[in-house]
């Protein structure tokens, strides 16, 4: 419907004045939205934290480099030896962590919004473990033959297919004339447990070498990540994050429940399927690159939501916070335990598990109330 032009009856209807409290507009041509200064602040601060975490992570190691030198090299300066160490050896690892963390967090933000339940994260309801089960199957069955291009293409592909398959099964089992968040979570936790069992079984029947390789992988590791790990996640984010930002408009309406959303003209099932597809592909690609790093997808959107003070997890802030969280966890995993380098997933699990407990206890209370 073309909005009819009508005389402005209110003299305060000038640009910049808020006529609805808390909804100050910004308008440039056809583009318009609400000014949310707190979102911008959270985004800027978490970006600074992210850059610092990357610089620290890149600087630490057998050949320490100070933060100023790291930053200079990252932005084009530095001497050749520093350039080699930073850009070729260390940066891909941090960048993989950054991108994987961002992808997981956006995936979590979308799924938590769509299911209207913070527990409906890809790492809780079996999406990342679906990806893992498929990848581990490939590692174990592929044996020594799984090297080079086959590994580079096969593993991500298997993870992606595994994630999608798990998502389809969970969605199918949870669907009863629409999706209810709690049922999705319960079905997902069940599927997750089954997938973990499948992976454990595979590890037991596998040869020692493959079992070791798979074990490191399923703990979520950023060890020895090169540019070949950066590129696929980078590409996925480049396409899927803008898609998520566009779809977040519809996501806002889905939050009100199916009936209200339909009344507002949203094609609910289509919108939800699209959003879940984006979320599952993000989680699958991330898992393919670094294994199922635990809890980043669960925790980051929740932190972002609380910092921003919104009614659902914001995509942009979740992305940056997830990235910063993962890089920081990697920094801890690499350096906090002397000579022993832990997989990053062990650290995120230690940090994230208490939060999961808190959520479970709180939801249990609400369910009883």
């Amino acid at each position: 419907m073309a909005a009819p032009t009508r005389p402005t009856r209110d003299p305060t209807a000038r640009e910049g004045l808020e006529r609805v409290r808390g909804r100050r507009p910004f308008r440039r041509g056809a583009v318009s939205g609400v000014r949310r200064p707190r979102n911008v602040l959270v985004l800027v601060v978490s970006l600074v934290v992210l850059v610092l975490a990357v610089a620290l992570n890149v600087g630490r190691g057998e050949f320490p480099i100070g933060i100023p030198d790291v930053l200079a090299t990252l932005f084009g300066g530095g001497d050749p030896s520093q350039q080699f160490i930073i850009l070729e050896l260390r940066l891909p690892r941090s960048l993989t962590g950054l991108l994987v963390g961002g992808a997981l967090a956006v995936s979590g933000a979308i799924m938590q919004s769509v299911a209207r339940n913070p527990l409906a994260s890809p790492d809780i309801i079996g999406i990342t473990w679906g990806a893992s089960a498929a990848a581990v199957t490939l590692i174990v069955l592929g044996g020594a033959g799984l090297v080079g291009t086959l590994a580079a293409v096969g593993l991500p592909l298997a993870a992606l297919v595994g994630g999608l398959l798990a998502a389809t099964v969970i969605y199918g089992l949870a669907w009863r004339k629409g999706i209810q968040g709690f049922r999705l979570v319960l079905v997902g936790i069940g599927i997750n447990a089954m997938l973990v069992a499948v992976v454990n079984w595979l590890l037991i029947v596998a040869q020692v070498y493959e079992a070791a390789r798979a074990t490191v992988w399923i703990n979520g590791s950023l060890n020895a990540r090169g540019w070949e790990h950066v590129v696929p996640v980078g590409l996925a984010l480049l396409i899927l994050v803008p898609a998520a930002l566009v779809l977040s408009f519809v996501m806002g309406a889905l939050q009100y429940g199916d009936d209200t959303a339909r009344g507002l003209g949203v094609r609910v099932d289509r919108a939800r399927s699209l959003l879940l597809l984006v979320a599952v592909v993000l989680a699958g690609v991330a898992t393919a690159s670094a294994g199922p790093i635990a809890f980043v997808a669960l925790v980051s959107p929740q932190i972002a939501q609380r910092l921003v003070g919104s009614s659902r997890p914001p995509i942009g802030a979740s992305l940056v916070i997830g990235a910063a969280l993962t890089v920081t966890a990697d920094l801890i995993a690499r350096t906090a335990f002397g000579g022993v380098e832990l997989p990053v997933g062990v650290v995120t699990a230690v940090l994230g598990a208490p939060y999961l407990l808190y959520l479970l206890v709180r939801q249990g209370r609400e369910a009883r109330a």
Binding site: R21, G22, R23, A30, F249, G252, L264, G265, V266
Partner: protein
């Protein structure tokens, strides 16, 4: 939105004409409605005329909410059709329907922590796109809807902190901001005390009188329905038993037939509409 814009919107359609010459906005044609195998409503016809407030009444489980869901294209009939301004509602783009027909589900839920301003602004969804989420038109419609329902001062308050009456006003405000001249309300007074029930229904009455809205609502309270609706549709077991002005529908034999209720019907001392005074169930 100005009353002019609303009538202009309604006039470019080929709506069928009812018996008394007024336009039929919504029409159910031989609809069969149900969930899965269970048929709740069968072979039902209903016309909703332009500029009326229609209340659907009937005992629990008679299919009144189901009928309203079908009128609002939330439920697709397994047989028959629902026509909006003469066109099959299922074949219209749902976003286009949302600019003409607004609906308020029974006990709607707002996301936790959402502010009243954001809730009411969500009513503008059908007029927006991902890059255009707060245009001048949006802002004016929302400011007006908030002012009209008397909750402008609450715009920054979280919806979950409001009282039941305030919350319902916020939802009606949202439906108003949507700018549709047809409104479907599913039990808008549930969970409210009597004073707030009256308050909400007075709001509906004003929507109709001042804003020219056509309203269809499901109501439980017969006396309030008789007071605030100008047409009643009485349903029993998925059929329409009687419809028309409240004085014609609310009669002692009908109450006996539809509700199994032995009652006297006297004129309401305030409004003159029929007032049901129960004697007892048979």
């Amino acid at each position: 939105m100005t009353p002019n814009a609303e009538t202009a919107l309604a006039e470019d359609t080929q709506a069928p004409v009812g018996p008394d010459g007024s336009r039929v906005r919504l029409r159910a044609e031989g609809v069969r409605l149900g969930y899965g195998e269970r048929v709740v409503v069968d072979d039902l016809d209903l016309d909703v005329l332009q500029g009326t407030v229609t209340a659907v009444i009937g005992p629990n489980g008679c299919g009144k909410s189901t009928l309203l869901r079908a009128l609002g294209r939330l439920l697709k009939p397994s047989r028959g059709h629902v026509l909006l301004d003469g066109r099959k509602i299922d074949e219209m783009p749902t976003k286009q329907v949302a600019t003409v027909l607004g609906l308020l589900p029974q006990a709607p839920t707002a996301p936790e922590g959402l502010t009243v301003g954001d809730l009411v602004a969500r009513g503008r969804h059908p007029h927006q796109a991902w890059y255009r989420q707060w245009s001048g038109d949006d802002e004016e419609a929302v400011a007006e809807a908030l002012a009209w329902t008397g909750i402008s001062d609450l715009a920054e308050r979280p919806v979950d902190e409001l009282s039941g009456g305030q919350r319902q006003r916020a939802w009606i405000s949202m439906a108003l901001a949507q700018g549709t001249d047809l409104l479907l309300l599913d039990e808008p007074t549930t969970f409210l005390d009597l004073a707030h029930q009256v308050e909400v229904l007075e709001l509906v009455e004003r929507l109709h009188e001042e804003r020219g809205r056509t309203v269809v609502m499901v109501l439980h309270d017969l006396n309030l329905a008789a007071r605030y609706a100008d047409r009643l549709v009485a349903m029993k077991a998925g059929r329409i038993v009687a419809q028309g002005p409240p004085v014609e529908v609310i009669t002692e034999p009908l109450l006996r037939e539809v509700f199994g209720l032995e009652a006297r019907v006297v004129p309401d001392p305030v409004a003159g509409t029929p007032l049901v005074v129960p004697v007892g169930t048979r």
